[in-house]
């Protein structure tokens, strides 16, 4: 029986559950390491007239005070993905553009003294008018954040696929939705942290940081620190307390603290506190969306017209505006819609810059698309499930090329929906709704179908460039995953992957994959995932994002295991006196398939290249194998802007029943069903963990969480008493169902499953609330006060 597919115990847990996790703040640092504290802007937009750090420099324990002068002298700006005449630095240069922006850094003997000294820095600000909301940023007279731009629109691209104008002209109906998607975040329990050292002898930086990838950022950082990549060693601790994308956003601090360490001449440690994290780490983008559909009388959608205004905050930080383009290949969701027009604008506002966040563009896109499908059902007086079913990509159509260039790899969406409705008890839920309505209770049912993209194409972000600009820049595409397997002189197997897990259990799953390939037990395999760019195999695509571990990293592990197995089989064949293809690996032995008694211990075969290489052909010497794998389907954007933005596309069908309390306006989720086709399931327990965790964060996005800015630009959800995340008490257990259609594009048939519920669940809940209250326009979060006001309005 294969190990893959079993919920074996996680090798990570023994340490984590006994307090032996090795997180960044637990690790020892060099003697003399200094501690940093950051002075942050209290203004959303202001000129910096002067900064006087002299009193702070003289304060007890202070080694240095770092300001923009140091950073601009020793570094260079952070690159971004769009061609716009703006400079983004890791510290405010000349002016501040959001509350919480770094203005100065104190490094001192400890964090207490550093914070004491922050109070002694005298900054003279001259407040400026602000541009806070994306609708304001579109106005020509809005206060300009970056002088290099005439306004606050950093990018404005229009796309056309098929013949949307003709489809709209022919359509029986037009249905549209407007969405003001709020700012929120998936919030890791461990905040950012780093230790940076600078070696003046080699002009080299050594960084230990809670970074999660993508390692395209390594190139951005090397440039920002003005060193070649081989002089920026970036390491990650063995354990991490969650990230959900957010820890990509530590990179400006790596540049900033790198310079601080260089100025101070000593290593610098900085652990972000919770107030800093909420105010100034990153958030998901907020977005204004108008989405219109051309609809036939039976609910079939023939065209979509997207208008998206993406608010990335005060700077375009790499890889933004990727949030806007990550879903470009699947803007038609799970539906067979041949005609699409898109207008994408990226605007700058006086808010914290956006960055990676679980779901990355999916929550925004699917909120509009699936609210639209619900509105089609309401406006055409059709059953919501019928509208979804009539539009699904049909069975047997895979691989299916979407209008915008995505390649949906596999699935059977209609069958999956039918199975979910049956196993999840949709008919019973509708009975419950009838009964509730009979008792005058506000009970609604919502549903949603989405495709969950995974394994991002490194080229998708270049869709923001015109074809002409892309030609000049050269093609970008692919997603190199890496895995290294090594055999030691005792025949023990070690594996390294540059997947930078943030708590997920990558080491366990990798051990299952390798154990299956080599006929060993998972406990025979030692997997390490701490990462060091100076020593480990990695590529710009490495890291923990875009749900790439299962499909891409495990795929590379499988290929590496097969490669080493082929060498060992040839080596063993000579000793077993059989052909190499007659050799099998099972139960810790290498043996003849037809005569299992003709066998050698695995360890003996595996050690041979160490002890007796002279007995082996050069090609059969197996000590260490590193595989790089990139799928051929991830091609660069085409001349007509078609882009296969992701390799795999899982399918999700969710439905739920909920009640809105007439007294308080509070939502009580009665039942939530989530059906997943994530291809081959490698570890059912971890898949359930991913689904449940994503669901919990999605309940937060739907009902609780918002990064709120007051009209004056101040940030008013800066503590965990203001930014409310649901706890176990607020999150019901979803019913998780599975439908397995393996991906033909990945070595193991797995597709990503890490982010889907962050995309499907917020809108599924909103659709149910809309159903309960009969509302057309509904923006998140659905707070009791907001819903109570809607109920009162309707009455």
């Amino acid at each position: 029986m294969a190990w893959v597919g079993q919920s074996i115990e996680r090798v990570e847990d023994a340490a984590l559950l006994t307090g032996r996790g090795r997180y960044i703040d637990d690790l020892p640092v060099s003697p003399g390491t200094l501690h940093a504290a950051v002075l942050r802007s209290p203004h959303p937009h202001a000129l910096i007239r002067s900064i006087d750090g002299s009193a702070a420099r003289a304060a007890k324990g202070v080694a240095a005070v770092i300001t923009a002068e140091d950073v601009t002298r020793l570094g260079s700006p952070l690159l971004a993905g769009v061609r716009a005449n703006i400079e983004c630095w890791p510290i405010a240069v000349g002016k501040v553009r959001y509350v919480g922006e770094a203005v100065a850094v104190v490094v001192a003997a400890d964090r207490y003294l550093a914070e004491d000294a922050l109070e002694l820095i005298d900054v003279e600000y001259e407040p400026l008018p602000i541009t806070l909301r994306p609708a304001d940023a579109l106005k020509p007279d809005s206060a300009v954040l970056h002088d290099g731009l005439r306004g606050n629109i950093a990018s404005d691209r229009s796309f056309r696929y098929g013949d949307p104008e003709a489809a709209f002209a022919r359509a029986a109906r037009r249905v549209s939705v407007k969405v003001d998607y709020p700012r929120n975040s998936c919030t890791p329990i461990e905040t950012y942290g780093l230790v940076v050292d600078y070696d003046p002898g080699e002009d080299a930086y050594d960084v230990l940081a809670t970074f999660q990838g993508p390692f395209s950022i390594h190139a951005v950082l090397a440039r920002a620190l003005k060193v070649p990549g081989n002089r920026l060693r970036l390491r990650m601790p063995p354990d991490a307390g969650g990230s959900f994308g957010v820890k990509q956003g530590i990179f400006p601090y790596i540049a900033l603290m790198g310079i601080a360490a260089r100025v101070a001449g000593r290593p610098v440690k900085w652990i972000e506190d919770r107030l800093e994290h909420l105010t100034a780490s990153v958030s998901a983008t907020n977005r204004l969306i108008t989405l219109e559909a051309a609809v036939e009388a039976d609910g079939r959608v023939t065209a979509l017209a997207w208008d998206q205004v993406e608010d990335v905050g005060a700077h375009i930080r790499a890889p933004e505006p990727a949030t806007l383009y990550r879903m470009h290949g699947n803007l038609t969701g799970a539906y067979d819609i041949p005609n699409v027009s898109v207008r994408n604008r990226v605007v700058l506002t006086n808010k914290t810059p956006s960055g990676l966040n679980r779901g990355f563009g999916g929550p925004q896109v699917y909120y509009a698309l699936e609210r639209l499908m619900q509105r089609i059902a309401v406006e055409l007086k059709l059953d919501a499930l019928d509208v979804i079913r009539r539009n699904l990509v049909p069975s047997g159509a895979f691989p299916y090329r979407t209008a915008t260039g995505g390649l949906l790899d596999s699935g059977d969406y209609p069958a999956c929906v039918a199975q979910a409705a049956e196993e999840g008890g949709l008919a019973e839920l509708r009975e419950r709704q009838k009964q509730a309505h009979g008792e005058s209770r506000l009970y609604g049912i919502g549903m949603t179908a989405v495709v969950e993209p995974s394994v991002s194409n490194m080229g998708y972000i270049t869709t923001v460039l015109t074809p002409e600009e892309r030609r000049k820049a050269g093609p970008k595409n692919g997603a190199q995953a890496t895995a290294t397997i090594a055999l030691d002189p005792g025949g023990a197997v070690s594996v390294h992957v540059s997947s930078v897990p943030q708590g997920q259990g990558h080491r366990t799953v990798v051990s299952q994959v390798v154990a299956d390939a080599l006929g060993l037990k998972p406990t025979d395999i030692r997997v390490s995932t701490d990462m060091d760019t100076a020593r480990d195999a990695w590529s710009i695509a490495s890291g923990n994002y875009a749900s790439r571990f299962g499909p891409a990293v495990c795929g590379a592990v499988q290929l590496a295991a097969e490669r080493i197995k082929a060498k060992l089989a040839r080596a063993a064949a000579a000793q077993l006196n059989v052909a190499a293809d007659e050799v099998e690996f099972a139960s810790g032995r290498v043996r003849a398939k037809r005569n299992p008694d003709n066998a050698l211990p695995f360890g003996r075969v595996a050690a041979a290249a160490h002890w007796a290489p002279g007995t082996l052909a050069e090609d059969d010497q197996a000590i260490r194998e590193t595989v790089f794998w990139t799928p051929p389907q991830l091609t660069a954007p085409t001349e007509d802007d078609g882009i296969n933005s992701s390799l795999c596309h899982g399918f999700i069908f969710d439905f739920c029943g909920l009640e809105v309390d007439r007294v308080t306006g509070a939502v009580r989720i009665d039942k939530y069903v989530t059906m997943h086709d994530c291809g081959r399931v490698l570890h059912p327990g971890m898949v359930a963990g991913q689904v449940t965790g994503g669901f919990a964060q999605a309940v937060g996005a739907a009902l609780y969480e918002e990064y709120v800015y007051a009209d004056d630009g101040s940030f008013i959800s800066g503590t965990l008493a203001d930014y409310l995340m649901p706890t176990t008490i607020e999150v019901p257990a979803p019913l998780i169902l599975h439908f397995e259609s393996p991906s033909p594009f990945t070595p193991l048939g797995a597709k990503g499953v890490g982010e889907g519920n962050c995309m499907s669940t917020p809108v599924c809940i909103a659709n149910a609330v809309a159903d309960a209250l009969g509302m057309a326009e509904l923006d998140l979060p659905l707070t009791p006060a907001k819903l109570a006001a809607l109920i009162a309005e309707a009455a």
């Binding site: 964090r111 207490y112 914070e115 004491d116 506190d273 919770r274 107030l275 800093e276 007294v663 308080t664 306006g665 509070a666 609780y704 709120v708 008013i716 959800s717 008493a721 203001d722 409310l724 649901p726 706890t727 008490i729 607020e730 707070t783 009791p784 006060a785 109570a788 006001a789 009162a792």
Partner: protein, 271 residues
């Protein structure tokens, strides 16, 4: 998020605590359970010169019945009160309300008198103290005094305690025959600060409703006839404000709706 420098004094006897308070006045902060003070210190929103730890003062311990009231000493944790075997029998309102305070973990550290001292307008214990007509025992070098709950809560996070005084105990009157009690609260999540909290104490002739989370302090009103108009008038008189979590309108509506439910429950349990 590290506190500004302060001196720490662990008082060994009550007189020592009085001396520190007399000497430092408003520059001293009393540390009991620390569930509110410590975060305020870390955010540098509280910057006392001296932190006076009273958790080792043997004189301030204990929960006991005294003068027909539950006297809770300054060292008693909220969890101690909840676990006190006489609670449901002697004061059902407290038995209903205390589980709403924060979380299991915060109740294990937070003290009853600390919550009374902080006087957060959303807090459950000040609300109950007011609804029950309890009192606070204060002491200083000058001696001891007792202040009725009505007079103790003077505004947003402010009380009648002088800078040189220490809260020794809070006394919650025991239930009397014929009384009915109910407590209801609405917050965004379990354990959050109440958006509206309601405590009702009813007798044959009187209905008393106390509301937290709306005005700058808990507010109590007695009704002969708590009809809808009377409740609406009470809600309108409270100085409700908008904040991040709820509008003033929403709070007033909840006072009317939850207040009604709370009164009905109190009357039902009296009957």
């Amino acid at each position: 998020m590290k506190p500004a420098p302060f001196d720490y004094v662990r008082a060994g006897i009550l007189a020592e605590a009085h001396d520190v308070l007399a000497a430092e006045g408003g520059d001293a902060a009393v540390l009991a359970g620390g569930q509110s003070l410590v975060p305020l210190l870390s955010m540098r929103m509280a910057r006392p010169k001296v932190l006076l730890d009273i958790m080792h003062l043997a004189e301030l311990g204990g929960i006991r019945i005294e003068n027909d009231a539950i006297r809770v000493g300054a060292r008693a944790r909220q969890a101690d009160l909840l676990a006190w075997s006489g609670l449901a029998k002697h004061q059902p309102l407290l038995a209903q309300a205390v589980p709403w305070i924060g979380h299991w973990q915060t109740r294990a550290r937070g003290t009853v008198c600390g919550s009374v001292a902080l006087a957060d307008p959303s807090a459950e214990l000040p609300l109950c103290l007011l609804a029950l007509g309890g009192e606070v025992t204060l002491s200083s070098k000058q001696g001891q005094r007792r202040v009725k709950a009505d007079d103790f809560f003077t505004g947003l996070m402010s009380t009648a305690r002088s800078d040189d005084e220490l809260i020794e105990a809070a006394s919650f009157p025991c239930r009397r025959p014929g009384e009915g009690f109910a407590f209801r609260e609405f917050a965004r999540r379990h354990g959050d600060f109440a958006i509206v909290a309601c405590a009702a104490v009813v007798t044959e002739k009187n209905v008393r409703l106390a509301i937290g989370g709306v005005a700058d302090r808990p507010v109590v009103r007695d009704f002969d006839d708590p009809g809808d108009d009377a409740l609406a008038a009470f809600a309108a008189d409270l100085d409700a404000r908008d904040d991040l979590h709820a509008t003033a309108d929403y709070r007033r509506d909840l006072v009317r709706r939850l207040g009604r439910i709370t009164i009905d429950e109190a009357q039902a349990c009296r009957a």
